[in-house]
């Protein structure tokens, strides 16, 4: 059975088909192999993001430990200011991101690569997808509130190295998380109009990407709180 044929407007529930060419030129037997290749591509992308944050972490550790020459006293001192983080808000944001990731995992497990969701559990899948989208957006808004709280308490990017590192690490992570949230939004918007196989690949890769972003955030939070 060829599962990856082009879809028609009738198949897609009356909407305008947007991808008419055969998305992935293979059949059921080859689908797992191709999915594995897509996952490998994602793994390399996530590895590159991981390397970026490893670089930031290394710079953080070196900057924290290196004494700076103080022209006033003529000696060396460690210029690493104390920083009170909005810990409760950050923990709440972490819960939101973890829940978004879990919701996306449910979507991944309920999505079939061979059947349109509208024929089986479409409503359920849409609900979980919307939940993931809402929770991911709430996480990003929560991060914005955390930055606002820091700015309100007089902690700016130029206040000191530690504050600057907090802004850089969290905003870089938020940008990458935004990519995942946009992918969830794209699936929610266009998912019903593409073939089941293509939809499954999109859902699978987005779910794994969100899991990676969640793990990265947990690492960053522990690093910022305890390192």
């Amino acid at each position: 059975m060829s599962v990856l044929s082009p879809i028609s407007a009738a198949d897609s529930g009356g909407g305008t088909p947007i991808f008419l060419s055969p998305p992935i030129g293979c059949d059921e037997a080859e689908f797992p192999i191709l999915l594995r290749r897509y996952r490998l591509g994602l793994a390399l992308f996530v590895a590159a993001i991981g390397m970026l944050f490893v670089g930031f972490s290394s710079a953080y550790v070196v900057r924290r430990g290196i004494p700076i020459y103080d022209a006033g006293t003529g000696g060396y001192s460690t210029d690493w200011e104390p920083l009170r983080l909005p810990i409760r808000l950050l923990l709440f944001n972490s819960c939101l991101l973890i829940c978004a990731s879990v919701a996306m995992e449910v979507v991944r497990r309920k999505t079939s690569a061979f059947v349109y969701p509208s024929e089986t559990n479409g409503r359920e899948v849409t609900l979980w997808l919307s939940a993931s989208l809402l929770l991911g957006t709430a996480f990003l808004l929560g991060q914005g509130i955390a930055w606002h709280a820091l700015v309100s308490s007089g902690r700016f990017l130029s206040t000191g190295a530690r504050t600057a590192f907090f802004y850089v690490l969290t905003s870089t992570h938020a940008l990458h998380a935004l990519l995942g949230v946009l992918a969830v939004a794209a699936i929610a918007s266009f998912g019903a109009r593409i073939s089941p196989a293509r939809r499954y690949v999109a859902v699978d890769l987005t779910a794994w990407y969100l899991h990676a972003m969640t793990l990265l955030w947990v690492y960053l939070l522990c690093f910022l709180l305890f390192a």
């Binding site: 030129g25 293979c26 037997a29 080859e30 192999i33 594995r36 490998l40 793994a43 390399l44 590895a47 991981g50 390397m51 490893v54 670089g55 972490s57 290394s58 710079a59 550790v61 070196v62 900057r63 924290r64 430990g65 290196i66 004494p67 060396y76 460690t78």
Partner: protein, 99 residues
């Protein structure tokens, strides 16, 4: 056998490189070496921590990717790929034409 030989060769090259290498002295950059040496023990400790942090996670990440790739390759070397199927389809089609 071939894999064993290439592994032994890689191990030999790596161990000779380690055994016969001299001190690196901050890769020969005089400015880096001077500033690192002038910082004192605290700076040395911070730099060592930073280098270790830069060393281990990438090694683990890329070792994981390479191991996964090798496992995939040994599990199904080229079986079921689109190109192979197209080749098979082409071969059967040509057989039909000739017969």
């Amino acid at each position: 056998m071939k894999r064993w030989k290439s592994g032994a060769l890689a191990a030999g090259v790596l161990s000779s490189a380690i055994a016969f290498s001299g001190n690196a002295f901050a890769q020969g950059c005089a400015s880096c070496y001077t500033s690192a040496a002038a910082g004192g023990p605290e700076t040395a400790h911070a730099l060592r921590s930073g280098i270790l942090l830069l060393l281990f996670p990438p090694t683990i990440i890329f070792a994981g990717i390479i191991i996964t790739l090798r496992r995939w390759k040994s599990a199904a070397p080229g079986i079921g790929t689109s190109i192979n199927r197209q080749r098979q389809a082409g071969a059967s089609l040509s057989d039909e034409r000739t017969t």
